[in-house]
């Protein structure tokens, strides 16, 4: 059999670090990615799509968003097997009951809200789900897999959302634990996991697919889905990661010391393939011409990419004597520039830097007017 393993769609996620233009676009990109997954599933003629939790980012979404998501599934008419994760846990009232009331869940979507096997005898597999019915639990919800009976000829697939014990860093959701050897103990052919947003293999039969659309600046290899092929029960699964993400997220952090550092940053910026989501954080110091080069490069990048956010709070503006000469600042104006340059080594550095920037820009404008 062949199926797609995906997870952590986080539909409805908003990005408050981006502006009012980028944030909705990035939110919408997630639904588009789901649409591409459906298309891919149809194209690959897979037997099922397993979505291992956190389909939704929150419990209360607008009806419109719910409709958009379920519409995005339409390209693939085979079974979609979904479990609720910690973000969309099957509580007494949840995003799922909302969707059910709306009647948007198609018949080919199997939402597992109880820990019971779902048999697909015709297709030759059985799915053991471990849905979250609380936001957090400290029990291993996959434990029941061990004792679950299934026809021996059926391929046993587990689907769960949580944190594999002893594999991931401690700070990542230690709630919702999953035993690292669950696949083996429960005689699973494959355990599809969600919660970790990067692509990660736990063992030959246990994988995190990661989120298909990157949503944070963490280079843990997100933006994939897993195409899994298992020829028969007990056979080793063939797992192929496929890149489906629309935007790559890049983070540039650099300490500027000499003027050539600016060139490095500019080169790094220009090397990124459009369209990406970029965060630039610069520290150190830069002279006036370097600053001009930088701001030109940054505004060009804004034109090419989905989003460019810049943090220069740690960057000092240090005009060189040439800069000052170039600005034709004489008399006490030149004294002011010197003083602002010195002040940046003190407490009030950002204010002094901004003040210097403003003064330089006024002087530059005056120069331009003079030339005009």
């Amino acid at each position: 059999m062949k199926f797609i393993h995906t997870a952590d769609w986080q539909i409805g996620r908003q990005y408050d670090r981006f502006g009012p233009e980028d944030s909705p676009a990035l939110a919408e990109a997630r639904i588009n990615t789901v649409r591409r997954i459906a298309e891919l599933a149809a194209q690959e003629q897979v037997d099922a799509v397993l979505v291992a939790g956190d389909v939704f980012d929150t419990q209360t979404l607008k009806d419109r968003t719910l409709r958009q998501l379920f519409n995005a599934l339409s390209a693939y008419t085979g079974p979609w097997i979904m479990i609720p994760g910690n973000h969309d846990a099957a509580l007494a009232e949840s995003v799922w009951t909302q969707a059910q009331r709306l009647g948007v869940i198609a018949d080919n979507v199997y939402l597992a809200v109880t820990p019971e096997p779902i048999n697909f005898v015709d297709q030759g597999f059985v799915v053991l789900p471990a849905p979250l019915t609380q936001r957090h639990t400290h029990d291993d919800l996959t434990q029941w897999f061990d004792l679950a009976e299934s026809a021996p000829e059926l391929i046993r697939l587990g689907i769960a959302h949580g944190c594999v014990q002893g594999i991931l860093a401690e700070e990542i959701d230690s709630a919702n634990p999953i035993a690292a050897d669950r696949a083996e103990r429960a005689r699973l052919d494959y355990l599809a996991l969600g919660d970790w947003h990067g692509l990660k293999q736990v063992n030959t039969r246990t994988w995190y697919s990661g989120t298909p659309e990157q949503d944070r600046f963490k280079s843990n290899n997100p933006g994939h889905l897993l195409l899994v092929e298992i020829t028969a029960a007990k056979a080793e699964p063939q797992v192929t990661p496929l890149n489906v993400g629309a935007f790559q997220w890049h983070q540039i952090e650099h300490h500027l010391a000499v003027s050539s550092d600016v060139d490095t940053v500019v080169a790094q910026l220009t090397s990124i393939t459009p369209k990406a989501v970029i965060a630039v954080k610069l520290t150190g110091q830069v002279d006036l011409s370097g600053e001009q080069t930088l701001s030109t490069a940054l505004s060009e990048a804004e034109g090419h990419h989905r989003s460019v956010t810049v943090d220069l709070t740690g960057l000092k503006l240090v005009p060189t004597d040439d800069d000052i000469n170039h600005l034709h600042a004489d008399g006490y104006l030149s004294e002011v520039i010197t003083e602002l340059r010195t002040q940046q080594t003190h407490d009030n550095a950002p204010v002094a830097r901004d003040a210097l920037g403003i003064l330089a820009s006024i002087l530059r404008d005056r120069q331009a007017e003079g030339r005009a």
Partner: protein, 879 residues
């Protein structure tokens, strides 16, 4: 800069060319009366520099009524060894030409050159205004505005600072004011002058606040939503449990058991109540029987008591009757004793009365003797009185008449004496035998005669002699005499006397009679104080009384001898007898009463006994008592049985604890009801919550929240950016202004030096301070006692004018040091200065003229006497 020649043509009152030459490099004094053209010269110089030659707004320069004139000014001056020649013509064939040594400039270029060189601004269009005038505006004071220094300094400020700054080896910055203005403008886009956010910054802050609020509200809603979801989960869980276990069923079963138990107890209670009633009735019957027995016993006792009482009453009656009979003789004796005592008292009283009458008789007799005597004397006296009164009546004379008679007699006597003294005396010594007749009288003897009236003396044989007495009032006197005599006669008649002496004697007798009568009256009153009549009556009364008593005592009663018993002793004996009698009578009465009462008592008790003895017979009573005693015993046995039964049943009831069972029933009913009610309520709650949550869920709360958070963080970033920018601008502006202030202070120092130089001529050790804009602000002087500080604007007009001039000269000195051209024009300066100050100001001006060319125009040439140069009269030039 030194002006050498001024030529003016077709300008205001100068229709013909006016040339002022031979101008001195120092002080030049021009004088002339009003409207002699002083100000026109000044205006011409100003126009030559300030007004554009092409300007059409300078038609005021034309001579009056000459609309075709072409006002022209031609100036020749020297600066730094170069020779300048400026020609400017307005309105008609307008032009501007400058020749500097061999160089020539014309038109706009020439004007711009002048403006830059002198430091002023050319108007873009129209007439040149004060704000354009720059440095010349400061150095050239117009008529009547020498005291105003602030405005010209302000307009000259930038030029001054630039010019002076250059001298201060480049501490000033090119266009720094523009930069400051630009910073200020950018700051104004974010902050109010007071440093509060404004415009976009303020709006962002407001947005931020409102977003923060709405996010908080949404968060709250989401939290509530989550709580409700959890609650719904819990409710559903409980609901399922209840559906399975039905907790109210157990309560209901227990309730049924308790109710059965309670029914049993209630039956026992009913029996108990019946038995209790029976017992109560029995007790009542028992009481009744006992009461009847007691009544029977009481009756027997009463009968015996009454018999005894009847007997007692009878015995008492007999005793009393005997006592009454015994008392009778005692009473009779007492009565006899009393009667005897009463007779004795009567006799004693009679004797006592007779004794008193004899005493009275004796007294009366004495009184009668006295009265008899008094009466006799009184009657004698009364007779004397009557005879005296009779005499008095006879001789009575009126004392007034007597007095009048006395008076008339006295006057008559006097008149006669006077008549005798004044009458003509005639002494006749007739020889015997001879007679004469006087009047009718014949006189034959010797003697004298008094002739009182014309009298004829006839001497027989001789004839007669008529004698007329000579005294003038003799006639009058004679009349008075006769009147008085008449009067006397009348009075004597009236008094019935013949002479005054008789009248006097009668008067005397009358007086003595009245005295005698008075004495007799007193005597009579001593005999009969109340009058004679009263005395007579008293006398006869005594006589009568005496008479009566004599009769009474003549036949005395034949008196029983009572052996000298006094009335008091007799009365005491009677009193004692009376007491004894009263006691006996009371005794008698008491006994009689007692007997009557005893009789009544005896009758009553006998009747009562008869009544009681008649009702019941002894046999009947005995039978009744036996019956009652039997009934009493029977009842007592029944009572015992019933009591026992009741006690046993009560123990059963108490052991069952009926109050607890009732509470159990109450409790179990409530528990069952409550848990069923809770079940129902929970079911409704679940339905309600489901509806509520589905409605809330449809709002997409968390998605809304996420959107708002995005907006919030965007706004927050924008706000932070603006805040940083505002802080940066504030900081930059601060820094720039600090620097500029420092620079200004550097510029102030030399200005201060020059100011103090001139000021010291006026006021030793005074100082004129200047502000950042180089405007004089305060004059500090050493006063008589303390340092005086005067704000420039509060100084007197004259002082301000002087300070204004000093300041102008100081600026000129600074400019000169900076190599700038200086020309000072003073139109009618210092007109408000007193003589002393003016003298000092002359020294100041003379001192300044060593460095600068000064054109001074005045209409008071005498004021400027002693300035060191001769005044040039405008009138001389204007021809």
């Amino acid at each position: 800069m030194k002006l050498q020649r001024i030529k003016i043509n077709e300008l205001k009152q100068f229709n013909h060319p006016l040339t002022i030459d031979a101008l001195q490099p120092g002080l030049n004094l021009f004088c002339g009366p009003n409207e002699s053209g002083k100000s026109t010269v000044v205006n011409a110089i100003r126009a030559a520099f300030f007004e554009r030659h092409r300007s059409s707004t300078v038609s005021g320069l034309r001579p009056y009524g000459d609309s075709s004139a072409a006002p022209e000014v031609e100036l020749t001056f020297e600066h730094n060894g170069a020779q300048w020649h400026l020609v400017k013509r307005f309105l008609n064939k307008a032009r501007c030409d400058i020749q500097i040594d061999q160089q020539h400039f014309s038109g706009d270029e020439a004007e711009t050159l002048l403006a830059t060189w002198l430091g002023f601004e050319l108007p873009a269009t129209g007439a040149s205004k004060e704000r354009h005038w720059g440095i010349p505006g400061l150095l050239w004071s117009e008529q009547g505005s020498g005291q105003d220094i602030e405005t010209p300094v302000e307009h000259a400020g930038d030029y001054l600072k630039t010019a002076l700054g250059e001298a201060l080896s480049g501490v000033t910055a090119t266009g720094a004011d523009d930069v400051i203005n630009a910073v200020r403008q950018q700051r104004a886009d974010l902050l109010t002058p007071g440093g509060k956010p404004t415009k976009a910054y303020k709006k962002t802050a407001e947005q931020l606040e409102s977003l923060t609020h709405s996010v908080a509200a949404l968060r709250n809603q989401v939290a509530q939503y989550r709580d409700k979801v959890d609650w719904l989960g819990a409710l559903r869980h409980d609901h399922q449990q209840d559906e399975q276990h039905k907790p109210w069923a157990a309560h209901r079963a227990e309730l049924a058991r308790a109710q059965t138990l309670l029914t049993e107890i209630e039956q026992l209670d009913a029996q108990q109540a019946q038995d209790n009633t029976a017992l109560k009735e029995l007790t009542q019957t028992q009481t009744l029987v006992t009461d009847q027995l007691q009544a029977l016993h009481q009756y027997t006792a009463d009968l015996a008591k009454r018999q005894q009482a009847a007997e007692d009453a009878n015995a008492r009656l007999e005793d009393l009757t005997t006592a009454l009979t015994d008392a009778k003789p005692k009473l009779d004796q007492a009565r006899a004793d009393y009667d005897l005592a009463a007779d004795q008292v009567k006799l004693a009283r009679q004797q006592e009365a007779q004794q008193r009458q004899r005493d009275t008789q004796r007294q009366l007799k004495q009184q009668w003797v006295n009265a008899e005597k008094a009466l006799t004397q009184a009657q004698q006296t009364h007779q004397d009185q009557a005879s005296k009164r009779e005499e008095l009546t006879k001789i009575q004379i009126n004392p007034d008449d007597l007095a009048a008679l006395r008076d008339v007699s006295a006057r008559l006597t006097e008149a006669v004496i006077r008549e005798q003294s004044i009458a003509t005396r005639m002494d006749l010594n007739l020889q015997p035998g001879h007679t004469v007749s006087l009047g009718t009288e014949t006189i034959a003897s010797t003697g004298h005669h008094r002739i009182l009236e014309p009298t004829r003396l006839t001497i027989a044989g001789v004839g007669s002699i008529d004698i007329s007495p000579g005294g003038e009032d003799l006639g009058e006197l004679s009349r008075t005499l006769s009147q008085l005599r008449d009067k006397e006669t009348n009075l004597l008649d009236q008094l019935a006397v013949d002479s005054l002496a008789a009248a006097e004697a009668r008067g005397q007798r009358q007086l003595s009679l009245m005295q005698e009568l008075n004495g007799l009256e007193k005597l009579l009153r001593s005999y009969a104080p109340d009058g004679l009549q009263t005395l007579e009556q008293e006398h006869s009364r005594i006589q009568d009384e005496l008479h009566k008593l004599d009769q009474l005592l003549a036949n005395p009663d034949d008196t029983n001898d009572i052996n000298g018993l006094t009335v008091a002793a007799a009365e005491a004996a009677q009193q004692a007898a009376n007491e004894r009698l009263k006691t006996q009578e009371a005794q008698q009465q008491h006994l009689t009463q007692q007997v009557a009462l005893a009789k009544q008592q005896r009758d009553t008790t006998a009747a009562e006994y008869d009544l009681l003895a008649a009702t019941d017979s002894q046999e009947e009573r005995t039978q009744k008592e036996t019956e009652l005693n039997a009934q009493l015993l029977d009842n007592r046995a029944r009572q015992q049985l019933l009591t026992q039964a009741i006690q046993q049943r009560q123990t059963r009831i108490d052991d069952a604890k009926p109050s607890l069972i009732k509470q159990d029933i109450q409790r179990l009913t409530a528990s069952a009801d409550q848990s069923q009610h809770q079940f129902q309520a929970r079911k409704e709650q679940i339905l309600k919550l489901e509806a509520e949550l589905s409605a809330l869920g449809a709002q997409g709360l968390e998605e809304q929240l996420a959107e708002q958070l995005t907006e919030l963080s965007t706004t927050q970033r924008r706000h932070d950016e603006l805040a940083h920018r505002a802080a940066a601008l504030e900081h930059l502006l601060d820094l720039l202004e600090q620097k500029r202030h420092a620079l200004t202070q550097k510029l102030q120092a030399p200005l201060q030096k020059h100011l103090n130089h001139y000021l010291s001529i006026l006021f030793p050790e005074a100082e004129l301070t200047v502000n950042d804009n180089l405007v004089p602000t305060q004059l500090v002087r050493n006063g008589a006692t303390a340092v005086e500080r005067g704000e420039f604007n509060e100084l007197s007009f004259g002082a301000r004018e002087q300070m204004g001039l000093i300041s102008r000269l100081a600026y000129a000195d600074l400019l000169k040091e900076a190599g700038k051209p200086t020309l000072i024009i003073l139109d009618d300066a210092l007109v408000h200065s007193d003589e002393q100050r003016l003298a000092s100001m002359k020294r100041v001006l003379f001192d300044a003229s060593q460095r600068h060319q000064i054109l001074l125009f005045t209409c008071h040439p005498k004021n400027w006497d002693g300035i060191g140069v001769a005044a040039r009269n405008m009138a001389d030039m204007n021809t």
